[in-house]
Amino acid sequence: MAAKRMSLRDKYNRMTRDLAWDFSYQDPKKIFEQADFEGIKIEDWDKWEDPFRLTMDAYWKYQGEKERKLYAIIDAFAQNNGQLNITDARYVNAIKLFLTGVSPLEYMAHRGFAMIGRQLPGVGPQVACQMQSLDELRHVQTQIHTISHYNKYFNGFQDFRHMHDRVWYLSVPKSFFDDAASAGPFEFITAISFSFEYVLTNLLFMPFMSGAAYNGDMATVTFGFSAQSDEARHMTLGLEVVKFMLEQHPDNLPIVQRWIDKWFWRGYRLLTLVGMMMDYMLPKRVMSWKEAWEMYFEQNGGALFNDLARYGIRMPKYWEQTVAEKGLISHAAWGTFYNYCHAAPFHTWIPEKDELDWLSEKYPDTFDKFFRPRYEHWAEQEKQGKRFYNPSLPMLCTTCQIPMVFPEASDPTLTSYRSSVHNGERYHFCSDGCKDIFDHEPEKYVQSWLPVHQIFQGNCGGATVPDVLDWYHLRDGIDNREYLASPDRANWERWKAGEEEAAELPKAAAG
């Protein structure tokens, strides 16, 4: 029989969509138990447009090829001591932030997408989510394998899994993903695929990967590039899902809009850590947080939301606030870590003079006025042997769990405080965005595992800082505190000096 030619679409439908059947021995509600409880109404799963049509044969072929190339480079990087080619050992602290803060979220995404890959009725979204689940496992594992080499030469990486579930600032990324994964399947996919991957992912990936490229970290650049084609698929899934929900039923609009509002703010607050990394932790800077926000959110994001206007979707609530405070948040964050880095597994430092000048230039309205004097003061103290560490514990925002350090955009000399009373208890927030999120689901956020509260309640190893550091598995004087005094810096200078000597040897021998 002469075989008929099939279009890609027909072929995909036959190979994937056609696998399902209408259950008749069991109530479909017993098989897809989570399909209804969030109030999202889907009338016809067949209307789902597959954002990419990938069958397993092609998936294995492409991904297998990518893995071969990636691991060849990871091997070469380790063999050639590629870590010695980075601009400066201060840079390594950016990857510490990545491994402790971001990689465990990739793992959570792996499990979360498995959850919804099982729970969403409809083969199209199931398979798309399952593939993303696998990709996310790829990301966390390739990140660990890449950074494994750094772990052999620098401090602070070694107990990243233990720390992610305990260290105070890591509750910011952890609670973000716990929040999404503990929600229903539709909220999860709106949170992660749309609000984070589609709207904000450029602000996570670009800074880390370009930062790596600018600073000679070829290993991180390589896994970044290799993950990029996966990310492209994930982003199209996010957009498709939101459009699908909006097309299926008008009642879905207010629910989806609220999720977009919530998850935009959740994601934005999480990106504070990235903003700080961009402005302070890269010895060779790519662009400022402010410039990145303007390019990736104000311009690109603005265009996206214009497109979605025909569905009735408007810009996320409080987006104006993000613009008003774009000159403030990264500095507030670095100042906080400068104060508290005796309790964090990475080092901080005062930017060098040319770096302070760069910040003054990039933030002409805010840096000299509100922040530079602080850094100069701390630098002066340090010179006198009084490097400042804040001995108190900060108050945390109940929602985003960042210490309450954000300035009021209208008057940056004031700290932004908001609060709500629920069942007779007062809860504190860093912003209107975080307060709104709490007010809508107080029963959820009263459960927050707030690290400072937990320390005071005696759940973190003891009452003193050394007790808590032990419980974190943080080795005082090695993993933490000022960069200038760190073993990382001492090792780095020894290795670099050794390199120069080695380079001079052949010359000496010839002479």
Binding site: Q26, M56, L134, S448
Partner: protein, 333 residues
């Protein structure tokens, strides 16, 4: 001239991550499998109870009746993490692609008699729906199971089953010249042919099992453990004896996959069973129950595939599975 490159001072300050070293007992070089697997899943200090299951934490060992001191006692003998798994599958896929084009170019399926062609279409193609359910079941275990050592293997198995569903679909399209008639007829049979209803009923019930370890036993030990030998050994043999050896080229992946996956299933069941008597009893009970039910549901399919040999073959396959359960998995069957 000897150039003495002074690299001695660039020595590692440690060999592996601390959580890995604690499990190895000392800081020594660890394998990529170990670094990619151990302790990867969060176990403590979760922030919020799931809206969809407020009685449990996000990840919670109490979602199964099986109890383990250490959920990282499970060791995949294949040492698969994403990279090794994908590269292995890409290699197999290469070989399958060559097989498909070999069979297609030479129109080898045309050598089958009409009766055997119908039998291939009638027996193999409806199984793509069973594979789809296996994909969902393994995804369920990946989602709600405990510990990366376990759940990453079901993540891979989920996609393997989807791949197999797609290979079966391609066999259907090869049979019907891409018209889709073979697939439609198979789905019709899956929905209405009395011979398929016991299996469909069983598969739909399995989709409602909520103890993920029970689901693992039902799917990966019991149903796979009978279905794969039945179709890809016994039925394949019968086919080959009747001029259908080309079909064996198109099911090479399934044969290899089953042999490989069994190594992992056996190791996992053995680990859980040797943990405690309670585990062994529970697993053995599930294994007996689901094997008996799977055998019963597969009997009409075996009739279709093997005719009068079906009774004897099904009895043999059950005995083989019992032997495997007792010897390889440490169960009381």
């Amino acid at each position: 001239m000897q150039i003495d490159i002074k690299t001695n001072n660039v020595r590692p300050i440690r060999q592996t991550f601390a959580h890995v070293a604690r499990r190895l007992g000392t800081d020594k070089p660890a394998s990529r499998y170990q670094e990619a697997t151990l302790d990867l899943q969060a176990e403590t200090n979760f922030h919020y109870r799931p809206l969809w299951d407020p009685d449990h934490e996000l990840f919670d060992p109490a979602r199964t009746a099986i109890r383990m001191q250490d959920w990282y006692a499970f060791k995949d003998p294949r040492q698969y993490y994403y990279g090794t798994w994908t590269i292995a599958r890409a290699r197999q896929q290469d070989s399958m692609e060559r097989n498909f084009s070999f069979v297609e170019k030479r129109a080898l399926l045309d050598n089958l008699s009409a009766a055997w062609r119908d039998r291939v279409a009638g027996v193999m193609i409806p199984l793509r729906h069973v594979e789809y359910a296996a994909n969902l079941n393994n995804t369920f275990i990946t989602a709600y199971g405990y510990g990366t050592a376990f759940t990453q293997t079901t993540s891979f198995a989920a996609m393997d089953h989807l791949g197999i569903a797609q290979y079966l679909s391609r066999i259907g399209l090869l049979l019907d010249g891409n018209s889709g008639e073979a697939l439609d007829a198979a789905k019709q049979a899956w929905m209405a042919d009395p011979a398929w209803q016991p299996l469909r009923e069983l598969v739909e019930e399995m989709l409602t099992i909520r103890d993920w370890f029970e689901l693992y036993v039902a799917q990966s030990y019991a149903l796979d453990g009978l279905l794969y030998p039945l179709i890809y050994q016994r039925f394949d043999n019968a086919l080959s004896a009747s001029g259908g050896s080309a079909v064996a080229m198109l099911t090479e992946f399934m044969v290899d996959w089953f042999a490989e996956n069994c190594r992992c299933v056996d190791a996992f069941l053995k680990t859980a069973a040797s943990e405690s008597d309670a585990n062994r009893k529970q697993l053995s009970h599930w294994a007996r129950n689901w094997s008996a039910r799977a055998a019963k549901a597969l009997k009409p399919v075996a009739d279709k595939a093997l005719g009068e040999d079906a009774v004897a073959v099904m009895a043999e396959l059950q005995t083989e599975l019992q032997t495997r359960g007792a010897r390889q998995c440490g169960l009381e069957i």
